[in-house]
Symmetry: C2
Subunit: 443 residues, 2 copies
C-alpha cells in the first residue's frame, strides 16, 4: 500500500505519518501527552477528526491518540494487514438476540463532533462495529441515526420521535433497544420514554458517555458493550439508563428512567438513582437484579402514548422570586407548572395570590423539592397546608425533572385537566417509590 | 401549690392534669403514642402549645410530650420542687465567652409555631435556657428575636438585617454569633452573610432543626449546644452552618456558608457541603478542623457590605424552555440572571438570541449547573463556547444557589456592571473551591 492508503488522514498528521513511512496496518509506537501507545495503524474513521491517530490495541479496542507538535510517532514494523471486521450478517449469528441501537447524538455516538464542534458526523453502524467489535458477540446489532443533536437541544418532539422509532424496532423483532444520547438531558428523555412506552415487552436502555473523545480512557466502549448485553439478555422490560456505577469499568448500573438524575458535571458515575435503588447491574457480563419488583420481559403488547404538552414549565423557587413570573406563564397560556420549592415543599407566601389566580385559570400546579432527595410533605407546616388549600398538589418523592416530563405527558395524553390530574396521581412508571404501580387501562 | 400553679396549661390537658391531682414539680408518668416518659412536671412554656405536657427528664432535658385522648397520665408522687434555672447573670460566669443568639424563626426557635401554624411565638431567651440549660455551661448567652418568619419567606432585606444585627452583637463584645433559622432557605442565608460580613473576627454560625416539635427526638437541643460551644471556642472566623453530620447525635458538622445546600427534605444530615469538605466538626465538645485553609478568629475589623440587588433571578433550564422567559426578565428591568444549565453548563441554542439581547441591555448572565456536583466547563463543547462568546460567564464549581446570592450581593455593592463582574470573579468567601481567597480591599 502506498501513501494513498492513509485514506482520510489530513494536514500535519498525514504529513507526520508519511514522514515515518507509516502505512495502514503497520505496527506503531506513539508517544502523546506523556503516555505511550503501541498498536496497529487503522484508517481514519469517517467520524474521527484531524488530530487523532487511530490505533488498534492488542486488546482489540480502537483508540484515538491525540496528535500535536509534541507527539512522537515511530513505525515499529509491518504488522499483518488488518481487516475490518464487517458488520456480521444476521445469518452468521443465528441464535443471538437482535438489538437495535438508535443514535440521537452525544459523546458516545459521535466522538468527533464534540472536538470539532460540528454535529453532522454521528457514528454509523459500520463505524460502531469497527470501534467496538465485541458488540457482535452479544447480539445481532443494527444501528440507526435518528438525530444528531446536542442533548441540551432535545425537546419533546424528539422524545416522541424516539418512542416511535423504538416502537418500530420492537415491531420488527428487536429483543432490546439501545438509545445513545448526550448525557446533559438524558435523564429527562429516559423519563419521557418511561411514560410514553406503555406495556413495554423488552428493555429500552439509554446510554451515554461522560468522557470526551480525545481521551483514550473514554467509557464509550465499555458502556456500549454493557448496555447491548443487557438489552439482549436482561429479564426486565423497562426504560432504564445504563452507565458506569463507579469510576472503575467493572460494573454498569441500570437506573429506572423515572428515578435517575445527572448529579455530577463530569464524573463517570454522574448518574444516580434518587430516592430508590437502581434496577439492576451488569457485572462480568451477567445481569444482577437489585429491585425485586420490576416489569418482566415479554409481558403485554406495546402501546405508545407520545403526546407531550408544550406549555409546561419547571419553576425553581428562590428567595425573592417575584409572583409576576407565575403571572407571565398564565398569561402566555401555560397549562401546567411544576414548582421546585424549598424543603418539604414550600414557596414564599407572596406567591399565593398568583398561584390562586393560575389555578382559577385552569393551570395545574404541582410541588416538588429543590432538595432533590427525600419527599415533599405539605401537611407539616402552615405554608404547605395553605398551598394545598389553594390547589397545589404534592408529588411525593418524584424528582422535579421527572415531574416536569410527566406533567407534559399527562396533559398531552388527556382530554381534560381531570384526566391529567388522574394520570399525575397514578404511579405509571415507578416515579413514586411508595405507590403501587398502576397496571390498569389508559384513556 | 394548688391548681393555679398549673399556669398556662389549658383545655383538655389542664383538665387531665387536675383530674390526677398533678401539680408542678410532681413526678409523673405519661404514656403517649406508645411511649412512656417519666419526669418532673414543668410549667407550660410561653412558646409551648396546648397539646404538650412539659416534663423535665432525669437527663436534665425538658421535653414536650404530646397529649390527646389516648394519653395516659399518672402522678407518681411529689418530687422536689423544681426550680427554673434562671439565665445566669454574667457575673457568675466570669471567664466564659459571650455568645449572642439571634433568632429568625424556624423549627429550632419556635417549637410550637409549627404545630399550631402560628409564627408569633418565637422562643425567648428565658425559654431557651430553660429548655437547654447546658448552654450556660459553655458561654454567657444572650438571645434576641430578630424575626419570626418561616424561612421560605426570608428575602434579601432579612439578610441585611441579620448582617446588621450580627455586627451590633460583635461590636458589643460577642465572641461568637449563632443565628437560628428555618432550614428551608438557610443555605441561601448562610451564603448571603458569608458575602456581607467582610473581615469577620469571630464565628457566625447558622443552625436549624430538622425535627418538628412534637417529637421527643428533636435535634434542636444537641444542635444548639453544639453551635454555641463552637461559637464560643472555635478557632475559625467564618460564616458557617452547623448541623448533624449523620443520623446520630455524636457530631455536629460545620459547613462553609457558601458551599452548603439542603440536599434532603427531612433527614437530620440534610445539609451537605458540595464540592468541598466541611470546615470543621464538633465531637465530644471539641472542635476538629477539617479544612486546613480557613480564616482565623480575631483577624481584621468587621466591615459590613449588606447591599443586595432585588432584580436578580435564578433560572433553571429544562428541555423546551422558551426564550420569552428571558425576554420577560429583561423587559422587567432585571440586572442579573444565574442560569442553572445542564451538564458542564449548557442551555438550548434556541435561547441564544434572547441571551444576546439581554447582554446587550446590560443584564449580566452567569452559568452554573443543575447537576449540583462538579464544575461547569464551557470550553469543551461548541454550545458552551458559543455562550461564552455571547457573554455568559462560567462560575466554576459554585453552587447555583450561592451564585444567585452572590450576584445579588455583587450588584448591590458595586457602582457599575464592571465592578459587579470583578466581584463575581473573585473568590470572596470560599465559593470557588480552587481559586485563591481574595484578601484585598473592596470598592
Amino acid at each position: 500500500m502506498g501513501e494513498d492508503s492513509l485514506h482520510d488522514y489530513r494536514g500535519g498528521l498525514r504529513k507526520a505519518l508519511i514522514d515515518v513511512g507509516a502505512d495502514i496496518g503497520d505496527h506503531m509506537r506513539v508517544e502523546s501527552r506523556g503516555r505511550v501507545y503501541e498498536g496497529t495503524l487503522m484508517p481514519r474513521l469517517e467520524s474521527e477528526d484531524d488530530r487523532h491517530i487511530v490505533l488498534k490495541l492488542r486488546n482489540g479496542y480502537n483508540i484515538g491518540v491525540y496528535f500535536d507538535e509534541g507527539t512522537r510517532i515511530e513505525r515499529l514494523g509491518q504488522a499483518e494487514k488488518p481487516e475490518f471486521r464487517p458488520p456480521p450478517l444476521p445469518e452468521t449469528q443465528e441464535g443471538l438476540p437482535r438489538v437495535s441501537i438508535i443514535s440521537t447524538g452525544g459523546t458516545i455516538a459521535s466522538r468527533v463532533d464534540y472536538t470539532t464542534g460540528g454535529v453532522h458526523a454521528a457514528i454509523s453502524s459500520r463505524d460502531l462495529l469497527s470501534i467496538v467489535p465485541e458488540l457482535s458477540d452479544h447480539a445481532i446489532v443494527d444501528a440507526d441515526i435518528l438525530y444528531s443533536v446536542f442533548s441540551e437541544n432535545i425537546e419533546s418532539d424528539h422524545w416522541s420521535g424516539m418512542a416511535r422509532k423504538a416502537e418500530e424496532k420492537i415491531q420488527e423483532g428487536a429483543q432490546g433497544v439501545v438509545i445513545t444520547h448526550g448525557t446533559d438531558t438524558m435523564g429527562y428523555s429516559s423519563a419521557a420514554l418511561s411514560f410514553a412506552l406503555r406495556s413495554l415487552p423488552v428493555p429500552v436502555i439509554f446510554v451515554g458517555s461522560q468522557r470526551s473523545s480525545d481521551r483514550p480512557s473514554s467509557d464509550a466502549a465499555t458502556n456500549l458493550v454493557g448496555v447491548v448485553t443487557a438489552a439482549a439478555t436482561a429479564p426486565f422490560a423497562e426504560v432504564v439508563l445504563g452507565m458506569h456505577e463507579t469510576t472503575s469499568d467493572t460494573s454498569i448500573v441500570f437506573h429506572r428512567g423515572t428515578k435517575v438524575r445527572k448529579c455530577h458535571t463530569s464524573a463517570r458515575y454522574a448518574f444516580q438513582s434518587v430516592n430508590s435503588s437502581p434496577l439492576a447491574r451488569l457485572v462480568d457480563g451477567e445481569i444482577e437484579m437489585i429491585a425485586e419488583d420490576y416489569r418482566r420481559r415479554g409481558e403485554g403488547a406495546l402501546e405508545v402514548m407520545d403526546g407531550f404538552e408544550e406549555k409546561v414549565a419547571l419553576l425553581k423557587f428562590h428567595p425573592g422570586l417575584r409572583p409576576e413570573l407565575i403571572d407571565v406563564l398564565v398569561d402566555d397560556g401555560y397549562r401546567g407548572v411544576i414548582l421546585e420549592g424549598t424543603g418539604l415543599g414550600h414557596v414564599s407566601e407572596g406567591l399565593n395570590e398568583s398561584i390562586r389566580r393560575a389555578i382559577e385559570e385552569d393551570v395545574i400546579l404541582y410541588m416538588t423539592s429543590q432538595c432533590i432527595w427525600g419527599r415533599v410533605d405539605m401537611d407539616v407546616y402552615t405554608t404547605g397546608r395553605e398551598l394545598q388549600m389553594i390547589g397545589v398538589e404534592p408529588l411525593g418523592d418524584m424528582l422535579p425533572e421527572t415531574a416536569f416530563v410527566k406533567l407534559k405527558w399527562a396533559l398531552g395524553n388527556s382530554e381534560d385537566i381531570d384526566g391529567a390530574r388522574e394520570l399525575m396521581r397514578r404511579n405509571i412508571a415507578g416515579e413514586y417509590t411508595d405507590r403501587t404501580l398502576y397496571t390498569g387501562e389508559f384513556g
